[in-house]
């Protein structure tokens, strides 16, 4: 039972949670006494524009989060000077101001190319030395601040009416409290994720407060409770293969409900019991889905981050490689929190294949923090075709796809490789300083063929004995890829030029369009962040373009909500019947479950959409 704690990454998580229990207990008490729960939640959420800026200007994400925490504290303190504003509306307004700034930065200024949220990727199972230092500093800061200011904060805590006014020098103690809360919350955030913040900083203190009014007892009790709940939650999560953040949140919620039952009158005791029962059954239900993937064979243990990379590695590795695929079909990387089995796979892997770019940036951290000694192969680094990413303007896109669409390019893969090389260097010349490349490289078969070669080389290095089989597999796969490439090219050749006009949800299919001479007319959403929003003006212009160019279909992407695409389609008479796979392959039982199947589905959908449903690509 306790052998869970012998795993190195679990030990680091345990140290982290024990360190965090100190600031969570000391400062959490003040959060509850002074009604700062909303404020602490807002600090975590308001880091969003800081992350967008960090991404756009290229400085560390944690710095962006700390900077935003500072701005947020200052804005709240300023707004709170008005005597008529209640503290909670001020917090809400400061929060929406920060979020709106983040949305505008992400959609209109930087056109962020990925989910910036994952930049501040935090999980108890991926704790690095930086996280431990931050947590330790937060603990020291909390102890010092408590020693210095406790008496002042206490005096104010019971005099609620004057708590919002910033007058006399008590204002400075208030500001000190807000600043300490902001710093500890941000330290917690970059280590364990936004959801856990309240589970550590608010719920335990609220639980203990039901039993004591004495401040020192309250603080000591909360430190102990956070440590206990954190340890139990971490253990439970490893045993049941659930994400630790959510597990700890539910454990502390259930403990709170039980405490409520203990403390309350008979009538409400039933209500409390019911709530606790609901909570407990949710934990049981949620934890039911644990599975194990261990099997002691002498195969090469490989980890692939995304669905399409896993498919390529399976194709090349064949029988001799055991591939653990981390992201599941149709997942938005935005939702990703690692499960213990994922971390175990990284820790155990001999070789890790990543797609590169923004899509799986978190994998670096998982490799480092799981104590893995695996070789990491980034498939995006040596590709023949690389396109610029971020917000495209339509003109440039058009010019580019025409230029890349030379005749004969599709005929021979060797030649196509050369063409690609050329496109690459031209593109690099155009690219602005620091502009990122579009990470969706696998939508071009020429890239996939090259990636298969990279995988082959890396696997041979890891397992020289398997060379013959890896080479044979690679050749078979490449033959299929080339056949597919020719078939798709032939299919689109038969569709008149004027009809090959693509409007998608997001800009995920630039490589496909580039390869098959398809004109990208526009995209509904300007950036890939889920938080980005289109503007009324851009959407209206897109609708005019669609009508003017007589575009017949708008293609939604399978893993996103298609409300916006539907709205555009309604106004223009285009159809949204045909959806595309942008970021992932399809689910296991679908025809798009393999890379080849996914490409065929996309080609079919586009052919049908371009021709008004008259013609698909007829693969068989």
């Amino acid at each position: 039972m306790l052998e869970t704690f012998t795993l190195p990454y679990v030990q680091e998580g345990l140290i982290e949670i024990l360190l965090l229990s100190v600031p969570a207990g000391l400062i959490g008490t003040w959060i509850v006494l002074r009604g700062l729960a909303f404020y602490s939640h807002a600090i975590g959420t308001a880091s969003f524009p800081g992350l967008v800026l960090a991404d756009g200007l290229g400085f560390p994400a944690a710095l962006g989060a700390f900077g935003m925490a500072g701005v947020f504290t200052a804005v709240s303190a300023l707004l709170a000077r008005s005597r008529r504003a209640a503290a909670d509306s001020v917090t809400a307004l400061a929060l929406v101001a920060c979020l709106a700034a983040g949305v505008i930065l992400a959609s209109d200024v930087f056109g962020s190319g990925a989910n910036v949220d994952t930049l501040l990727f935090g999980s108890l199972l991926a704790i690095g030395s930086m996280d431990l230092i931050l947590a330790g500093s937060a603990a020291v800061l909390a102890i010092i601040a408590t020693r210095l200011f406790s008496a002042h904060w206490l005096a104010k805590g019971f005099d609620e009416d004057s708590a919002t006014g910033l007058k006399s020098n008590s204002a400075w103690f208030d500001f000190a409290l807000l600043a300490v809360v902001a710093l500890t919350v941000t330290a917690t955030l970059s280590a364990v994720g936004a959801l856990l913040v309240a589970a550590l900083m608010v719920i335990p203190a609220a639980t203990v407060r039901m039993f004591t009014r004495r401040i020192t007892t309250l603080q000591a009790g909360t430190v102990l409770l956070v440590a206990a709940q954190g340890t139990i939650g971490l253990w439970l999560s490893v045993e049941t293969n659930a994400p630790p953040g959510a597990t700890i949140a539910v454990v502390s919620g259930v403990v709170f409900a039980l405490a409520l039952v203990l403390r309350s009158s008979k009538r409400s005791r039933k209500l409390g019991l019911a709530a606790a029962a609901i909570g407990a059954s949710l934990v049981v239900a949620g934890c039911g889905g644990g599975g194990d993937s261990d099997s002691g064979t002498d195969k090469v243990r490989a980890v692939a981050t995304t669905t399409q990379v896993a498919d390529i590695v399976r194709a090349v590795g064949g029988e001799d490689v055991e591939v653990t695929q981390i992201l599941q079909p149709n997942t938005d990387p935005h939702d990703y929190e690692p499960r213990p089995s994922d971390v175990a796979a990284f820790a155990d892997a001999e070789i890790v294949f990543k797609s590169g770019g923004h899509l799986d940036e978190w994998s670096e951290q998982l490799v480092d923090d799981s104590g893995s000694s695996a070789i990491v192969v980034d498939l995006s680094t040596n590709l023949p075709v690389q396109l610029g990413g971020g917000a495209h303007d339509h003109e440039g896109e058009k010019a580019h796809s025409e230029e890349a669409g030379h005749e004969g390019e599709k005929a021979h893969s060797e030649e196509a490789g050369h063409e690609g090389e050329k496109a690459h260097s031209e593109e690099a010349g155009d690219a602005h300083e620091g502009e990122e490349t579009d990470p969706h490289w696998w939508h071009d078969p020429v890239n996939v063929s090259a990636a298969a070669g990279e995988v082959e080389t890396a696997l041979i290095k890891t397992d020289p004995a398997g060379e013959a089989s890896f080479t044979a597999n690679t050749n078979t796969f490449r033959t299929e890829v080339e056949a597919l490439n020719r078939a798709i090219a032939k299919c689109f050749d038969s569709i008149p030029d004027g009809q090959r006009k693509l409007v998608t949800d997001h800009d995920a299919l630039g490589y496909f369009a580039n390869r098959y001479d398809i004109e990208v007319v526009g995209a509904v959403i300007p950036a890939l962040t889920t938080e980005a929003q289109p503007s009324a003006g851009d959407l209206a212009e897109l609708e005019r373009t669609i009508k003017a160019e007589n575009v017949k279909a708008v293609f939604p992407e399978s893993s996103y909500s298609q409300k916006l695409a539907d709205a555009v389609a309604r106004d223009t008479g285009a159809t949204t019947e045909y959806s595309l796979y942008g970021d992932t392959l399809g689910p296991e039982d679908s025809t798009a479950a393999t890379w080849i199947g996914m490409m065929q589905e996309n080609a079919n959908s586009m052919a049908l959409g371009f021709t008004g449903g008259e013609q698909d690509c007829n693969f068989n």
Binding site: R84, L93, V103, G253, G537, L539, A567
Partner: protein, 277 residues
């Protein structure tokens, strides 16, 4: 000038967005005043996340997602009221406890292989993505919520301003709180589908907080709040059309501008009239 105003009206998406923000602006402006007076801003911002377990369970058993979301958000609202009433804590803390625990439970439930991906965003929409049906539903729900607020007006006022007198007017504070939270939950459920979480929080709190800066009387406060919500909504969409900025965020910026103006007006007013108390 006329062109600037009329040009956006030729575009269907923009017109539907204007209709949706006007309808939801009226109801949000009105219920927002009670949210500000009852200090429920945190609920307005977070309650939508509490529906996650409901959504996931609905998806797993094959029920309509909207139904799951509705049940989920109402349970969250009831739990918040229970936690506030039975513990010694402020509503603030109670909301943090309930929403965090529910959201965590929702994530654990969503780990089930048969739950569809990205489920927590399925009910969250964008202002530019609304359909005429959305606008009609928003209108119907808004009328219901407004009628309920109208009926409860005196009682909400009595409890909101004077918690001591609850017995003398024969109102159970708990049931009144339950009803108010229920109304807030229903408004949020409808609004997030049309506006998205960010804009919902802003429009529920911003206009009422602005109105509060310039008046203390509830009648004028509601009137000003509704006017601010609708005006900022329309101004934001026009800005989004002409300046090409993100639609929801533009409305939020317009709301904040109104708030800052009101705060300025409020402090000037305050300086001119000597303090009476």
């Amino acid at each position: 000038m006329f062109d600037l105003l009329s040009e956006p009206l030729a575009n269907g998406t923009t017109v539907r967005a204007l209709a949706e923000i006007t309808v939801l602006g009226v109801v949000s402006g009105a219920i927002g005043c009670w949210i500000v007076l009852y200090k429920l801003s945190y609920s307005a911002e977070s309650l939508a996340h509490g529906m996650l377990p409901g959504l996931v369970i609905a998806a797993l058993v094959g029920a309509p997602l909207l139904l799951g979301g509705a049940v989920g958000i109402l349970i969250a609202a009831v739990l918040v009221v229970i936690a506030t009433r039975t513990s010694t804590e402020t509503a603030d803390t109670a909301i943090a406890v309930v929403i965090t625990a529910l959201f965590g439970a929702g994530i654990l439930l969503a780990l089930s292989p048969s739950s569809p991906p990205g489920i927590q965003d399925l009910l969250f929409g964008d202002l530019l993505g609304v359909t005429l049906t959305d606008v009609a539903i928003a209108g119907a729900v808004s009328l219901t919520v407004l009628a309920a607020l109208w009926t409860l007006h005196e009682r909400l006022l009595a409890v909101g301003f004077d918690k001591g007198s609850e017995r003398s007017i024969g109102v159970s504070v708990t049931s009144l709180n339950l009803i108010l939270m229920g109304l807030v939950a229903v408004t949020i459920l409808v609004a997030v589908q049309g506006l998205g979480t960010l804009l919902v929080a802003a429009i529920l709190v911003g206009p009422a907080a602005a109105a509060r800066q310039v008046t203390r009387q509830i009648g004028p406060m509601i009137a000003i709040s509704v006017a601010v919500a609708v005006a900022a909504g329309i101004a934001g969409i026009y800005a989004s059309y002409h300046l090409r900025t993100a639609a929801g965020a533009s409305v939020v910026v317009a709301l904040l501008a109104f708030y800052l103006l009101a705060a300025l007006a409020g402090s000037l007013q305050h300086r001119q009239i000597p303090v009476r108390r």
